[in-house]
Amino acid sequence: MAAGIRTNELRKVYNTAPPLAAGGGGFSFAEKRSKGKQPKPEIVALNGISLDIRSGEIFCLLGPNGAGKSTTVGVLTTRVKPTAGQAWIGELDVWKEQSAVKRLIGVVAQRPNLDFSLTAREILVFHGAYFGQNSNERNTRAASLLERFKLTDRADQIVRGFSGGMMQRLSIARAMMHDPQVLFLDEPSAGLDPQTRLLLWEIIREYNQSGKTVLLTTHNMEEADALCQRLAIVDHGRIIAFGTPTELKASVPGGYLVRVRFGQHSPDLLERLKALTGVREVRSTENNGADLYADRGGSLVSEVANLAVAANAELCDVHISEPSLENLFLHHTGRSLRE
């Protein structure tokens, strides 16, 4: 039975200890103690997230650190209790039917949370045992996953000495051990070398082809673009865009983004830039800069340079982006995902 994922207006407000179970960084609680008896600071991690992820698709939550991606995964995997709203895996309510939900899901956390007292093989075998697999089944499956993830030669060593990449691969193998219908991967390729990342993508695609749903979070646009059938862009606990990568890229006015910076401020220059052929939208940015959303890139540069000279504001910096999810994020938030 394949299963989709739905959420309805999820909200999560933290006012207690750091959200370790959310697995997410990005929140600072440093001020908490120094404020004495003042009210505890409230941090809104999720501010009304509604999702409908189809059974059997690779879906991606894309957003910067602290956007609420990990908290969303935390709620969907029973690790974080939402302040309001509901979440379902298939037909099961995540909070009311936790044990049944846990049977359907496999989870790879942002940081490797392996059982450091065990060897790699034992981690897989015991995981299988927690899910009721018999001894033959779990040993065979563990051996084949170790092979698939290229861990066979270190299989009988305690994992404490493993490199970050090996721990990450083992975490993913463990999540697949009980063959879950829905696989959650929280920033799975963070810290992986390019070769291992490609292996991971291949494994994710292969797993998805067997009819399984995959939800992954990332702040890497290339990864979202390459892997996902649909995605949601998340920022400050809200979904700011939702659709297929192609649809989303097409939703940016013009598609191309030309970021320019001038030597000095010139008020009517922006107006003239707007009038250029193919320019759909111009936004002024910090340090005498402007973002031009347009349906062309390189050919615009000489015209911009000429206008700048005419306005006595020398062109200092130009950056051209082809249609991308990065442009979309910038268009919605005014910030770059990479910042």
């Binding site: 933290y14 207690t16 200890a17 959200p19 370790l20 179970a21 959310a22 697995g23 935390g74 995997t77 029973t78 690790r79 974080v80 209790k81 936790q98 044990s99 049944a100 846990k102 049977r103 899901i105 989870v107 956390a109 940081r111 490797p112 949370n113 392996l114 059982d115 450091f116 007292s117 065990l118 034992e122 981690i123 015991f126 995981h127 045992a129 927690y130 899910f131 009721g132 463990r174």
Partner: protein, 256 residues
């Protein structure tokens, strides 16, 4: 409850305990047996302590070993596994209610504490003999008391392990465990506090008092001890309290 997952977690804890067996044995027995040797053998042998002290000491040492083992076996892994690495997460994600993960820890700790108790008796007896008058007239009562003591140690471990941060482990031992041991009637019977009436009342809030006195009542009943009814009420009450607090703290740590 999911029986298979529960048993698999017990098997996991057994595997880890077996891997660390040598360290575990030293940790459990070295200090109590040195104490037995110095106070039961050297001090008694040189005439500074009365020979009957040997018999009074042994049940206290048994309580001490059991409680130390149980608290350590449950609290230390929990403190480590709830830290930044969140090692416990694979068990929290097993298909059963997370309270059972905590209860599994309590069961594993209880078994380890019982093993420690059973092993410390012959070891201490060998160090102390001759002159120890153990009289196991009521083996079933002894078994029940020993079980309640082991359970108390594991529930205490759960409550402490889910309330203490890793940076405060040292403080946990000097502020909670050490006073509990010294005011826990392990090295002396409760009746010996008759000359310190206020302290004699105050130490009754210490669950280790009921553990030591309960083992004294069932191993060396010829010496003064708290009535068994008080022991049962004390141990059952503290077990229920510590288990409730421990489970609540566990949930707080497990779900954010």
């Amino acid at each position: 409850m999911n029986y298979k997952a529960f048993m698999a977690m017990l098997a996991r804890d057994a595997r880890v305990a077996r891997r660390n067996i040598v360290a575990l044995l030293f940790q459990t027995f070295l200090q109590p047996l040195m104490f037995v040797f110095i106070f039961g053998r050297v001090m008694v042998g040189s005439g500074y302590m009365s020979p009957s002290y040997k018999s009074l000491l042994l049940p206290g040492i048994m309580a001490l070993s059991m409680v130390g083992t149980g608290i350590w076996a449950v609290a230390m892994p929990l403190i480590a596994e709830f830290q930044f690495t969140r090692e416990i997460e694979d068990r929290l994600l097993a298909p059963m209610d997370i309270s059972w993960v905590a209860i599994e820890k309590v069961v594993a700790g209880t078994l380890q504490a019982l093993a420690a108790g059973i092993m410390v008796i012959p070891a201490a007896w060998l160090l102390l003999r001759p002159g120890v008058d153990l009289s196991l007239h009521r083996p079933i009562l002894f078994a029940i008391v020993a079980l309640l003591v082991a359970l108390f140690s594991a529930c205490g471990g759960l409550a402490l392990g889910c309330s203490v941060e890793q940076t405060h482990i040292g403080l946990m031992f000097s502020l909670v465990v050490a006073p509990m041991i010294f005011f826990g009637c392990t090295y002396y019977p409760w009746s010996a506090l008759a000359n310190f009436p206020i302290m004699q009342k105050v130490v009754l809030v210490n669950p280790l008092v009921y553990a030591s006195e309960g083992l004294r009542a069932t191993l060396v009943p010829q010496y003064p001890h708290l009535p068994l009814l008080a022991v049962f009420i004390g141990l059952l009450g503290f077990n229920a309290l510590l288990l409730t607090v421990g489970l609540r703290q566990f949930h707080k740590k497990a779900v954010s």
